[in-house]
Subunit: 343 residues, 4 copies
């Protein structure tokens, strides 16, 4: 593994540390996923406790890992940190072949103020990450304004294009209260953005990876689970890196299909039945099975739609026992139809 | 282990199934914790998939386990199910010696509509459980009204007396949307009620223990973790049952001390400094250390309070390196002072 | 769940406790696996600490669970305990329909002296279990003779018909030294019997499930892992119980195919090449790929056999990239050929 | 983190790769534990799959990590690889201050042929590691001779000075049969050397960390547990690195006290009663409690010694309910008495 520190801005003291693992040779694949670590510290420092220890965890999981030490208070002001990220992202893309990176699988992870920055990458960045991991992120007005006047409030920035998010924090965090996570999750929920969330009963603020040599507070034993859980969630979201390359992502963690440009089995039933005739024809074998069940149980298709309209076509296909392969085949076909989003 | 089914109401078809493990003898202790399982099913059925499999998990963890099959639609209406719970709770208390139960450690767990009932036990019951485990609970108006008109909405019932809660659900739940959990957690947060929450990326509705023989949906591998995680959380909240009886609960999961009748190290600094003079004197060794740090860093105690006012005395005592035993000693002393809640 | 205590011998005070879970209805399947728990206690008692707590763990995992309190010293002598087991096993088989049990998936688990009895069920019983779980079992002469004169020494009873075994113990066990497990595993290894073994650094003797309310010694935190690990191993060995019945067992944990009556992909290459011509023809597509690799690398098939002769056909088929389905198809075909065991 | 490749011998192509994490600053401690990774490959290659992925796992756990690419066949012969290790060890010690390493906590880990080398560091090296992790190590004559004529057979080298070992392998390993691990463990058992062992039902040879991007065989899901399990075992064996430095090692994983120069609570009762009078006096409070129990149960101290003579004083003190602190106090006192090993 090679370690390299790249100056992104000497003036604003911005650096990108790159930890690059081998590809090819005994590792049969040519490309790895990548993660950009954004340490916390109230935009006043970049905490070492939230830098290397985090990078090591993702290196172990097969990632190319980068630590972005972004512009701090005194050296500049918002949107400098976000611009630092854009610069880092574009540098990584430009050197992706050299560094063995799959550019469709670049992820961000941030802690506290770095979690604020990560939430901004997921919502308002030009270069959106494939997914974002937010650990006790600063989200709401009170804490953001205290870090630096003029920061955006990420919960107000969520829309249908927001990247999937993994969120972890402790309920007893007295620096960044748990309302920060809850309000952000409500926003994700509103737009059907996939997420996973773990709020542990205690652990305070700043637990980082919660390894004994890193953690400073008393923390529930479960707190350290976020590390492997986030890695497993990323496997579902991006596909798993194996010796023969990446597996397919798991459909079940995909974005709500109602909000994306083409149809898919991730659309809800209530949304799908309002789409164009051609899509309905494509789905006839599915509707046939559903109608047979309605007949058998003595209620109409409309009654079923009222009760199950929020279920996805995928879930319903599983329920009426289409195989995984059949569902994948339907999914592929549906991709050729435009999604009438505002029906 | 003995199994017994007790009729609570033949008319409304209400039963309490009791699974009672041995105490004493080779098990040196005389009392176990107890759990009351409230299966789901929209108040129209009590699902078997959310009854025995759940009881087995807690039996393994050392609990006496009870399954309450409460009043269903058609046999009665709200508040019958809650009254069934009160009756069950009081029966358990009345037979606690015979059944080897510590009555200060009776817990509820509920799923979906049973999760609604469990949330009601935590908020509005006469007999509050020591803690409550809510798995994909129905909370909000829409889903509650669909189950049965006239149900209370538990998020509107939370107050400072609400029991600590453990909450788990899947983000892609299309029957009881994830907003149910988030709104309930916001209410818990508002009143400083301890909780833990796990929202898994996918798993749909009704995963129960998520063992392969129980689960019906496709679910993330992490979903089954809620079972052991809830048991571990209950160990912190109630104390752990060992051969020589229960350990002390972990202070860090206690209710926010600002809301309870007497002072404790679980009060926040901002709240404590407004209390009576006697309490301040009791805490002098703590204030001395804190002031020494303020002096060293060149800021006033008032500045520290502004920044750290939401931190608990416990957290701050840990930070200034009082030992666990010393903190426990302060805690005991503080219990003799009335808490001026509305300062 | 129903609980029932059945007298197998009033004279010798032998009982079988049956814990029977529901099948069918909401549990779509008709049959569950079953486990017979054999508590320890030097054939002088049957420890309660190794009875119910163990049954609860397997009930949670979906098993029908039985506790056999076998003949103790004073009430009888060897082979009474083994005969008690045979009687229990046959009773379970005779009531399998009533109790919802798949008779091909009856497992034994034993602790200490009960582990000795379980090891005897796996080796010399008339009714062999499908698999056996041995927790700190008494195996060697010294400890067996101390329990009761005349006991068989299970390591001397292992042969090609021995059931697959899961073994756990602590290295610092001063009652039944770790040599007991090691010598038994050497015997299993000699006959190619599948097994899994976990020897924890410390935990002493008698940790049972190692839950805090059961354990008496100080034990490494990992010790309690044996419970879920044994359940997962049994899923591989017997197939996993799902809502739609059992999955196929995982071939990789099967017995060494060299010792069973018909050929399979679990035979080693060195054994397979000595079989009849028809089997070789059936395997031609496999040999073709292997020979192509030999040619490419410039060595002969004989050289490959010398180096890889102990690898199974399954492993080699995976290496030369046959799919799982193709391997299963080869396996089915090979089952029609008699295995020339003594080639 | 810094990465550095150091040439130990250009002629024999021996290198030491050093991955050095920060100490001090936000990491309050000055010294970390260190691990030397010895990849496998039959002494013909050093596999990349058993180099960096392993180092990453231990970096995450807080270690300074080194990869030793030792002398391969063709570039030299035994004992060159062992000498390479001695040179690497001495280099690490000489730069321990610069690199922030606690020289009493240097560990080796090896795989296959590298596991052979690691087993040699634990048994016959001049510079013994504090502990050694052996993953599917080559131990027995057959496989050793095949790698390189003249290799020592580590099971024949074990003695009372051998370092504690953690061992993992798969039962279906057809390259290095499981007998290698079993015979080595029997040797460790003979000399009372602490060890932990996990033999998984399947996983073949060469699974390394068993992450999906590293593993080549089909392997039981449990196989990857060895990584965290070995880290947790090392915490017990060496003490845990926390922000305020290392905790004390856990007495329970210590070497059998009967074999070390001074007395301790890790001596067995049978050994202790034969020691000098002064030690007996020091232990009087312990003997008093034990004798009270003998009296109460109506048997003599000699009978107790016969039954429990292999139990350690620590275990017995726990049984008669001395506190942890009291046991530690006895331990310190006993250290001032010479151990009469050959009594």
């Amino acid at each position: 593994m090679r370690a390299e520190v790249i100056d992104l801005s000497k003036e604003r003291k911005v650096t990108l540390t790159a930890y690059i693992q081998d590809v090819e040779g005994e590792f049969a694949f040519a490309k790895r996923p990548a993660i950009i670590v954004l340490p916390g510290g109230g935009y006043s420092i970049c905490s070492d406790r939230e830098a290397d220890p985090v990078a090591m965890a993702y290196l172990k999981a097969g990632y190319q890992a980068f630590i972005l030490r972004y512009t701090l208070n005194g050296n500049g002001a918002w949107p400098d940190p976000l611009n630092d990220y854009e610069q880092a992202y574009e540098l990584i893309v430009s050197r992706a072949d050299e560094w063995g990176i799959d550019t469709s699988k670049i992820v961000t992870i941030g802690f506290s103020a770095g979690g604020h920055l990560a939430a901004c990458t997921a919502t308002i960045a030009k270069n959106k990450p494939a997914a974002s991991v937010l650990i006790y992120p600063a989200i709401l007005k009170d804490i953001c304004d205290m870090c630096q006047p003029g920061l955006p409030y990420p919960n107000e920035c969520v829309d249908g294009d927001t990247a999937p998010c993994f969120i972890a924090a402790a309920r007893d965090d007295s620096a960044v209260g748990i309302k920060n996570e809850l309000m952000f999750e409500l926003a994700l929920e509103e737009y059907g953005i996939p997420f996973e969330s773990h709020i542990y009963s205690f652990g305070g603020h700043g637990f980082s990876t919660a390894e004994e040599w890193v953690v400073t507070n008393s923390a529930a034993g479960r707190v350290k689970n976020w590390v492997q859980d986030s890695i497993d969630w990323l496997k579902e979201t991006l596909g798993t890196l194996t010796r023969s390359g990446f597996t397919e992502p798991n459909m079940a963690v995909s974005k709500n299909g109602d909000f994306v440009p083409v149809l898919s089995v991730m659309c809800t039933l209530g949304h799908m039945v309002k789409q164009d005739e051609e899509a309905q024809i494509c789905l006839k074998p599915f509707y046939d099975r559903v109608n047979a069940i309605c007949d058998k149980n003595g209620y109409t298709f409309e009654v079923l739609c009222a009760a199950m309209g929020k279920a996805t076509i995928r879930e319903l296909m599983e329920t009426v026992q289409f195989t995984h392969d059949e569902i994948m085949e339907f999914d592929r076909k549906l991709h050729s139809y435009v999604n009438r989003i505002d029906v």
